[in-house]
Amino acid sequence: MDINLLLAYIGVALIIGLSGIGSAYGVTIAGNAAIGALKKDNSKFGNFLVLTALPGTQGLYGFAGYFMFQNIFGVLTPDITSIQAAAVLGAGLAMGLVGLLSATRQGQVCANGIAAIGQGHDVFGNTLILAVFPELYAIVALAGVFLIGSAIA
């Protein structure tokens, strides 16, 4: 069923595309802040690097989601059923949107932390913890993708 496979691949496009875009935005927001903060305190590059890397994970979750459908559940074949295709599309939408928005928002939390550290406030640990809050939902989305996948495989 070609149309089923088409639907499934639209899901794949969403899951990889949206969460990748989100991570790209997130790390850029944090990275821009880091470059600004380096002007004030260039000895904290290690801290900035770690905080900038945090929003990078959503893109990886999106990719992991695609990979599960491809290899673990193995549903992306020409004889995919319409239910499986709908599941892939739905999972892609969920993971993609959550990844996109949580990564950009997480980037903003990290950027604020970076700016504060640059101004001499020692908030590295606090920022780490707070920045992980938005990430939970991307993780939950990935767990959701896993559950959707195991339900239809």
Binding site: L60, F67, N126, A131, V132, A143
Partner: protein, 605 residues
């Protein structure tokens, strides 16, 4: 756990105060309570801080200029020299800045002169005296009119970037108006001269930079001065912390001393004939915190400090979250190979720099070793090894192990939730102890109720033969525990208020607990996504490399190394941060940790 502290109060005669402080600093065990500063005092400190800033600034500059690979032999450290260094460096830096500005101006002038090539400005002046005016012009090529050559004796000097550079030699002075062009102003030096000036400036600049490089040999002096200043600042802060009483004749100073050191203080004070009182802390005191955890839990103290120190009368949760943190890290990273890698790196650093390591770094490395080992053990559950699965290898040993320890994805999912339930229940149990310790058992009753309530469900679910789910026995337990959390949640208040608060408590528990337990799903998802990415890098390494007998393997190895390096970095970061959140948010919340203690920081040199 937290060391017991004793509260110290001294009364010292003002003439002996300085002497007393110096000796107290030598003892180095008393945490002095520092007062809020008044204006005069903060001004006094301000000048010290300014000096401190200058010194650190100077240190930064020197470290920038230091040749890290083969540094200059260090000069012996003298504090005086260290204090003088900032001015010296500032002078050189100011000179460098002026030189740089001059250099920039000269380079711009040279840029402007290059098309005209080398000529002596003196000659132009001489021509002017003889009545011939030389003017320099630059026009776009299409605006250049060859007729000018006859009219004004124009001579084209150069032609670059679609611009024509030409001069006119005329007897009239105001040639610009006739041509309707603006003449270019020439610097009063020739190109040759300018080149010489630039070389000279470069040489001077280099000389000044070398001066700075030579100064890097005095870094030890600078460090010594910084250390001296640090202790001076500390001393001043303590010195102005005393309250003067009895017409400024007697200084009153308060401090804290760890109980094990109490005897030292007593012996010293008795010998000195100082009036002092040692007493136990009162509940309202802000007691400084010193950890005294033993070996394993001690490793996790830096993690506790990242969040907040416990209050003095509160339970220190470090030893209780340590084993959980270790397991959570292992599950989140979840790859035998990565665990081995972390372990080996930490061990290698430890062996290579045996003596040069500070105590803190050493314990961090030990922590990495512990976490690495945990990752190896947790990795055995899923069998991931650098993205390959060891349980897919057809060797009896691995197949045998698979039968015993292998967890599939669904089982891992459930395992992480179970760990969540275990940690949250444990947290609640600690809350009971914590409340009992702080306010008495009466205040812990509602938590006891909740604990029994939840535990009874777990027991009924796991062992239906002992206690059937919602059977008579179970119902009795539920009812009695409900009485506890509905009517005993705030002792001393009236019954209806208690009941209302109890209902609110139920709402909080129902929404909170569900979210808390689900939060532990991250352990599963992190491990899964890390494993998948590692696997993908392996496929890329074998699949993307060109079919060439020499380049092929090289590309494979490169992709493998880079891919796993990125993956290790990202996953280790996640495996550090996510269990931290589980500890500080889910576990601390259920254990009712409030925190906010100050670190014990003894007054010493």
């Amino acid at each position: 756990m937290v060391t017991k502290m004793k509260k110290l109060t001294f009364l010292v005669y003002y003439k002996e105060y300085e002497q007393f402080l110096h000796e107290l600093r030598e003892l180095g065990v008393v945490h002095v309570v520092e007062n809020k500063l008044n204006q005069a005092q903060s001004d006094q400190l301000e000048s010290l801080y300014t000096q401190w800033k200058q010194l650190t600034e100077a240190k930064k500059i020197l470290e920038k200029y230091r040749d890290k690979k083969n540094p200059l032999p260090e000069n012996p450290a003298t504090i005086d020299k260290g204090y003088r260094l900032p001015q010296e460096i500032e002078k050189i830096q100011a000179e460098i800045t002026t030189l740089m500005q001059q250099l920039q101006i000269s380079k711009k002038e040279r840029e402007a002169l290059i098309p005209w090539e080398n000529f002596d400005p003196e000659n132009i002046l001489r021509l002017e005296k003889a009545g011939y005016y030389v003017r320099f012009f630059v026009v776009p090529n299409r605006d250049y009119n060859p007729e000018w050559e006859d009219l004004y004796n124009a001579v084209v000097i150069d032609n670059r970037n679609s611009k024509t550079y030409f001069i006119t030699i005329t007897k009239e002075e105001n040639i610009e108006q006739q041509l309707n062009l603006e003449a270019v102003k020439m610097p009063g030096v020739s190109l040759e001269e300018l080149n010489r000036i630039i070389d000279e400036l470069d040489a001077k600049l280099q000389e000044n930079k070398e001066k700075l490089i030579r100064l890097t040999a005095d870094l030890p002096s600078l460090n010594a001065a910084l250390k001296e200043l640090d202790s001076e600042i500390r001393y001043t802060r303590v010195q102005i912390s005393a309250n003067s009483v009895a017409d400024n004749k007697i200084m009153l100073l308060q401090g804290w001393v760890p109980e094990p050191n109490e005897q030292d203080i007593r012996t010293y004070m008795d010998a000195k004939n100082v009036y002092y009182v040692i007493e136990d802390p009162q509940p309202e005191d802000d007691v400084p915190i010193q950890f005294n955890n033993k070996k394993f839990a001690k490793l996790f103290e830096p993690i506790t400090e990242m969040y907040m120190l416990p209050k003095y009368n509160e339970l220190d949760l470090t030893p209780f979250f340590a084993p959980f943190y270790m397991i959570f890290f292992g599950l989140s990273l979840g790859d035998i190979g990565y665990g081995l890698f972390l372990f080996c790196v930490a061990t290698a650093v430890k062996l290579a720099k045996k003596n040069a390591l500070s105590m803190t770094l050493k314990s961090v490395l030990t922590l990495v070793q512990v976490l690495g080992t945990s990752t190896v053990v947790c990795g055995l559950l899923t069998g991931g090894f650098f993205g390959f699965n060891i349980y897919e290898i057809n060797i009896p040993f691995f197949q045998n192990m698979k039968n015993h320890v292998y967890f599939d994805n669904n089982q891992m999912f459930v395992l992480s939730l179970i760990l969540g339930v275990v940690q949250i229940m444990f947290g609640m149990f600690l809350k009971i102890i914590n409340r009992t310790k702080q306010f008495g058992f009466k205040h812990a009753l509602s938590t006891v109720g909740w604990f029994i309530f939840l535990l009874s469900f777990i027991i009924a679910y796991l062992l239906p033969s002992v206690m059937p789910m919602l059977g008579m026995a179970h119902q009795a337990i539920l009812a009695s525990s409900a009485v506890l959390f509905l009517f005993f949640n705030s002792p001393g208040k009236n019954l209806f208020l208690n009941f209302g608060l109890g209902l609110y408590d139920i709402y909080n528990m129902a929404t909170g607990l569900l979210g808390d337990v689900l939060s532990y799903v991250r352990l599963f998802a992190l491990g899964l996504s890390g494993g998948i990415l590692a696997n993908v890098f392996n496929s890329l390494a074998t699949g993307m490399s060109p079919k060439d007998s020499i380049i092929g393997p090289v590309v494979t190895v490169l992709i493998f190394l880079c891919g796993h390096a990125i993956n290790i970095f990202m996953n280790t970061l996640g495996a550090v941060v996510h269990p931290m959140r589980l500890t500080f948010v889910e576990f601390y919340k259920n254990a009712e940790f409030s925190g906010g203690g100050k670190k014990y920081n003894p007054f010493k040199k």
